[in-house]
Amino acid sequence: TQLLEQSPQFLSIQEGENLTVYCNSSSVFSSLQWYRQEPGEGPVLLVTVVTGGEVKKLKRLTFQFGDARKDSSLHITAAQPGDTGLYLCAGAHNNAGNMLTFGGGTRLMVKP
């Protein structure tokens, strides 16, 4: 099993604070996806990073793929209550099933 360690597991912050979520593995991935999930719904894809060192921005969210394509981070600037949810990273393998390995998730709560 190729593990993807996500940290922290839980994060409770005040509106306006910044935060970073980390996703680490000893395996190299062909790409890495970040998802956000709200209660009672399926995960929703936020971004895909492919190239080592790649940085992508989505409004107040910044995603980075490590140079060696083994790790990634998600940084949220000036968090808002609407950012509350479960954030999942998933590493992609170029294997027969095009499978993803998911991290355990970071549950974020942003208090107004």
Binding site: G42, T48, G97
Partner: protein, 114 residues
């Protein structure tokens, strides 16, 4: 919206009974996946399909079987449900090609086995 629906959305059943969950897609994607999501374990792959009648096992396939008789439908069957199979089940399709291995998820089925 990737055009994925799951049915039923909620089900309560008893230990030992068979259960079938259905995933339906409208966009003709080749790859489909079944995951379960449990606290502390994240999303784990049960089975996947790479075409009609082409399926393979994932990480946690014991106690589950799947079938895909047409492109749009992927069925997950619990032959004899156990309490350890109480979970939220998600279906996904793969979009994108090559390195862009992006999966899009259905709304989930919450299954309780008493």
């Amino acid at each position: 919206d990737a055009g994925i629906t799951q049915s039923p959305r909620h089900k309560v059943t008893e230990t030992g009974t068979p259960v079938t969950l259905r995933c339906h897609q409208t966009e003709n994607h080749r790859y489909m996946y079944w995951y379960r999501q449990d606290p502390g374990h994240g999303l784990r792959l049960i089975h996947y399909s790479y075409g009609v009648k082409d399926t393979d096992k994932g990480e946690v396939s014991d106690g589950y079987s799947v079938s895909r008789s047409k492109t749009e439908d992927f069925l997950l069957t619990l032959e004899s449900a156990t309490s350890s199979q109480t979970s939220v089940y998600f279906c996904a399709i793969r979009a994108g090609t090559g390195t862009y291995n992006e999966q899009f998820f259905g709304p989930g089925t919450r299954l309780t086995v008493l």
